[in-house]
């Protein structure tokens, strides 16, 4: 995809490569890399650094039986699940997380909808559907929030975000994203903490919607 101007910072790419990124964020990184050749190349470069470190690490003694077990098992059946392909605006890893089915939208008021993909101790990841010209409630963040645009666009105090663009918001950012005119804005949004809303009503609704 061309025209992407907001990319993944190195700290997140390295944590993704090293496998330490919480799963909600890992999904957003995998989805962005599916759309962005620039970040795919940068991820490959970090994996080259990881490979170089393996290459230079001291060999440990392995048990004799491990070698035999592996060499004897080469002809055994090996379970390798086929990856889910991209469907419409949803990249492969998102379809994987949706188990191959289209998102089931739930209304969250003000014309907006969401589909929670995963919600657990590490945080949550959801799809958001924001009607053109509609604002997402003004909110700050307890932790980190990654928002990847899949369709349409939104704007906030920090800039314009179109398809493939990734916005990174942390505890310091109070922002009011507004969906651009045109197609509804569909985003993949991940947080490692509950969002805090500044107005009363959404705060009451927060436990209900698990935002």
């Amino acid at each position: 995809m061309t025209g992407i101007t907001h990319h993944i910072p190195d700290s997140l790419l390295i944590a993704y490569a090293a496998g330490t990124l919480p799963k909600p964020f890992a999904l957003v990184v995998a989805a962005h890399v599916s759309l962005c050749d620039e970040c795919r190349a940068r991820l490959a470069a970090h994996e080259a650094a990881g490979g170089a470190i393996i290459e230079q690490s001291a060999p440990e003694t392995i048990s004799e039986s491990l070698r035999d077990r592996v060499l004897d098992a080469l002809d055994n059946p090996f379970d390798m699940p086929a990856p889910h392909p991209r469907q419409g605006v949803y990249p492969g890893p998102v379809m994987e997380a949706l188990k191959g089915r289209p998102p089931k939208w739930k209304r969250i008021g003000m014309g907006n909808r969401q589909c929670i993909i995963d919600h657990g101790a590490e945080g949550s990841v959801r799809l958001l559907w924001i009607a053109p010209g509609q604002a997402v409630p003004d909110h700050g963040h307890n932790g980190l929030e990654l928002t990847l645009v899949l369709q349409g666009a939104f704007e906030d105090e920090t800039g314009h975000f179109g398809p493939g663009d990734l916005e990174i918001a942390d505890a310091d950012l109070e922002h009011t994203p507004i969906a651009a005119e045109g197609a509804p804005c569909i985003c993949l949004a991940a947080t490692d903490a509950a969002l805090k809303f500044n107005s009363f009503l959404p705060r009451v609704l927060q436990p209900l919607f698990r935002i």
């Binding site: 090293a18 470069a45 490979g51 393996i54």
Partner: protein, 217 residues
């Protein structure tokens, strides 16, 4: 030296079965020379193209003992470390058809597989992975200069890693082997990301170029 039909000279130095003919820009000369891929790349290509079990055993002997240390370091319970190494090496055998030396060195490809399998096994859930790039069917001729270029860049990256001060080296290893969280990595000012980035810049350009070619229908 031999003469081609059109009387250009051809230098033949065929000590290896992988040969490349490169036209020298601006010169009417074709040169055939041996390609010195790294031994790991040779093993991996033999596994991929010929299902060569001896080559796989050599890959195993080289990588399994290193993987054992790396997997143990990133927090796997000791009882499971060899099971993970076994799974990684079997994945290398079964996914060999996906190995593309124009895009990744053997060590980085194995690093990737090791992270994936370790997470899948320890957390019993599948790690979100980017879409695979569809290889073009007609693109079967390996681009030797691309492969060698990546190997050279990785070699320089290794040298750069070796020149780091011990404390910096320790931080880099921790970051890439999964001992630091993303917030730790962001906060860690001692992490010599600049060194790594400048070393992989050229390799990156090559990868971008390669992805552009693959991505063009």
């Amino acid at each position: 030296m031999m003469l081609l039909d059109d009387h250009r000279t051809l230098a033949v130095n065929a000590t290896c079965d992988r040969l490349v003919v490169s036209m020298m820009a601006g010169q009417e000369q074709a040169q055939v020379s041996k390609i010195n891929y790294s031994i790991q790349t040779e093993w991996m290509l033999a596994v991929r193209d010929d299902r060569d079990r001896r080559a796989f055993a050599q890959l195993f002997d080289h990588f399994a003992p290193r993987l054992k240390g790396v997997v143990a370091r990133s927090g796997a319970p000791s009882a499971q470390v060899e099971d993970i190494v076994q799974d990684v090496m079997l994945t290398v055998w079964h996914k060999a058809h996906q190995f593309d030396p124009e895009r990744a060195q053997v060590s980085s490809w194995i690093y990737q597989i090791a992270r994936n399998r370790q997470i899948d096994i320890l957390r019993r859930e599948r790690r979100p992975l980017p879409e695979e790039i569809a290889q073009q069917a007609e693109d079967t001729t390996p681009d030797a200069s691309q492969i060698l270029g990546l190997e050279q860049e990785t070699e320089k990256l290794k040298q750069a890693l070796n020149k780091l001060k011990p404390a910096q080296r320790e931080m880099v290893e921790k970051a890439y082997l999964g001992e630091l969280s993303h917030t730790d990595i962001q906060a860690e000012t001692g992490l010599p990301l600049g060194t790594i980035k400048s070393r992989i810049r050229l390799g990156l350009e090559r990868l971008r170029h390669e992805l552009k070619i693959i991505g063009t229908p």
